[in-house]
């Protein structure tokens, strides 16, 4: 039974991803890009989850790994005959070389991981708000450097002419890979040890778990996944700009994670897909959409209001997220199973 449950826990988010991917194939070109975007968001939020969900420590810096991955993958897949003209300040090595699509994704993952490891070495000592602000500082530094160092990137301009290789196959597979990696990690001894520290750090320490090492491991893996997702992102957009991988994406992905349920992989996937697809739906509604026989036309700009309001409502009504922080399971939630009531502490 446990084996079946474990497989289901992996199968459910994977099935969701594939369903969305297939659904995307069936829609119009405009919506398709948004669906692939939703899948890339899954990769990002799952990357975020690997660290935040398992450790219980909030990090605002994961998007810097997305940024690094995006810029690296993007930069090195632009046609080298064009690059030196468009980006004259680049280091010659970067200007004259380029790599293929898949290698760019691997490179993005590798760079994200290495960067995360180096950042994590000192930072994983911290917890709570200190960790939050410190990782936020990393985001700021990454943004600042990427925006100004024209030897390694486009600086304040948009990096364009990146091959748009993230369509159905790459988006779906990319999201699937992220989900599978995250699942393997959380099932592993390391993942379980880290979750133990989330529940009760003192007890975990007493049991011999090295909190710093486990957090560092998760942070590095998270960095790699986020870097990978950054590669997916840049190949989806065909371009990248520092503002696209900065504050807005940070807050949005964190909110997606919490709305879905920060403590489960299923929650990460549900949150990312739910919010992204709602955003897509509302975006279409701004251009008039027919739903259930009714004609819906939203005024411009209200999609953002709708998404924000929906997230707030979910959080207020269900603070532990849409999935309650639990993985997918065929067993009914406790509440519906036994007639005996729970007595929570009053607040």
């Amino acid at each position: 039974m446990r084996r079946l449950n474990a497989s289901l826990q992996l199968l459910a988010p994977c099935a969701l991803v594939v369903l969305v991917g297939l659904g995307g194939r069936a829609t119009t070109a405009g919506t398709q890009t948004e669906v692939w975007n939703a899948l890339v968001n899954v990769a990002i939020v799952v990357g975020l989850y690997v660290f935040v969900g398992n450790s219980g420590v909030l990090s605002f810096g994961q998007i810097s790994f997305v940024a690094v991955g995006a810029f690296a993958a993007g930069l090195l897949t632009v046609d080298p005959t064009v690059k030196p003209n468009v980006l004259p300040g680049l280091w010659p090595f970067l200007a004259h070389h380029s790599i293929g699509n898949v290698p760019s994704l691997l490179l993005a993952a590798a760079l994200g991981g290495v960067f995360a490891f180096l950042v994590g070495l000192p930072l994983m000592r911290l917890s709570g708000l200190a960790a939050g602000i410190a990782t936020f500082a990393v985001l700021e530094i990454t943004h600042n450097v990427l925006r100004n160092w024209t030897k390694i990137g486009p600086g304040a301009t948009t990096l364009a002419l990146v091959p748009g290789t993230t369509t159905f196959a790459q988006a779906t597979l990319g999201a699937l890979i992220a989900v599978v990696v995250a699942f393997c990690y959380q099932q592993s001894r390391f993942g379980r040890q880290l979750r133990a520290t989330r529940e009760d750090p003192a007890a975990a320490r007493a049991a011999g778990i090295d909190i710093h090492r486990q957090r560092l491991l998760a942070f590095t893996l998270s960095g790699a996944l986020c870097g990978f997702a950054g590669g997916l992102l840049v190949h989806l957009l065909g371009s990248i700009d520092t503002e696209q991988v900065y504050l807005d994406l940070t807050f949005l992905t964190l909110a997606m994670l919490v709305v879905g349920g920060a403590q489960s992989l299923f929650g990460a996937v549900v949150g990312a897909l739910g919010v992204s697809l709602l955003d897509t739906f509302l975006g279409n509604a701004e251009n008039t959409v027919h739903v259930l026989g009714l004609r819906l036309h939203l005024p411009g700009g209200s999609r953002l209001v709708g998404v924000a309001a929906a997230m707030l409502v979910v959080l207020v009504l269900r603070p532990s997220g849409l999935t309650g922080g639990r993985e997918f399971s065929l067993r009914l939630p406790r509440r519906l199973r036994a007639p005996r009531a729970q007595a929570p502490e009053p607040r």
Binding site: R340, A341, Q342, A343, P344, E345, P346
Partner: protein, 239 residues
């Protein structure tokens, strides 16, 4: 005809998650009484006090103060209804002065229309505090902090005083001081529910002492049983 109990707990059950911490507990506190509650660690003594105080919501059972149900009320309402607690570990505000700590005790009192200067009788009971009114409470000794915690509770003019291990961590001489203060409190007509680890002293002092183990009431002892070590041990170990 016996006067109705001031505090009546009937069939109380409190759960931590799905595990019962207190089960089927019934006890009474009449005016002017001190009732003791002893038992091994984890027996549910503190949980009982927390249930009375409204910090945890009971799963089942009733808690009545002078005939009125106070079950499920938030802590601030219970405090204003006339129950004051001296929490485990004292929980005084180290960064505030002694006087400010005492003034906090007044919050529950004002809500119930107290009169006159409430500090005076309390300071008479604990003269050491009178000299330290302007000092940071965190600078007091352990014994003085315990006195402050009790004083703070008394300032509210409660009808029922709950004490959670007031002698914890105190030297024997200071423990004596605590029990002396408790005797004066009893003499002034305040009823008290005393949770303690020091079984023998509690049994000797209280009008009645209940032994709690594993969340259940095992037996009730009177002052006469204070010398009977066998009975005490039997009570603790019975399961």
């Amino acid at each position: 005809m016996r006067e109705a109990p001031l505090l009546a707990i009937t069939d109380l059950e409190v759960r931590h998650g799905s595990v019962p911490a207190v089960r089927g507990l019934s006890l009474e506190l009449r005016r002017g009484e001190v009732v003791g509650l002893i038992g091994p660690n984890g027996a549910g003594k503190t949980t009982t006090l927390h249930a009375i105080m409204g910090i945890v919501r009971p799963y089942r059972g009733s808690i009545e103060l002078a005939g009125r149900s106070i079950r499920g009320l938030p802590p601030e309402r219970v405090a204003r209804a006339g129950i004051a607690i001296v929490p485990e570990g004292r929980r005084i505000y180290g960064e505030l002065t002694v006087e400010e700590n005492l003034r906090l005790g007044l919050v529950a009192r004002r809500a119930r229309n107290g009169a006159a200067n409430p500090f005076e009788p309390v300071l008479a009971l604990f003269p050491a505090l009178r000299d330290s009114l302007e000092r940071r409470a965190g600078a007091l000794s352990g014994g003085q902090q315990q006195q402050l915690a009790i004083a703070r509770a008394l300032v509210a003019g409660p009808e029922v005083l709950l004490l959670d291990e007031p002698s914890l961590g105190l030297a024997p001489r200071l423990v004596d001081a605590v029990f002396e203060a408790l005797a004066e409190i009893r003499a002034s007509g305040i009823s008290a529910l005393l949770v303690e680890q020091r079984a023998q002293r509690t049994v000797a002092f209280a009008d009645r002492t209940h032994v709690l183990a594993n969340g259940e009431l095992r037996m009730t002892l009177g002052p006469a049983d204070a010398g009977d070590t066998n009975r005490l041990v039997e009570a603790y170990l019975a399961s």
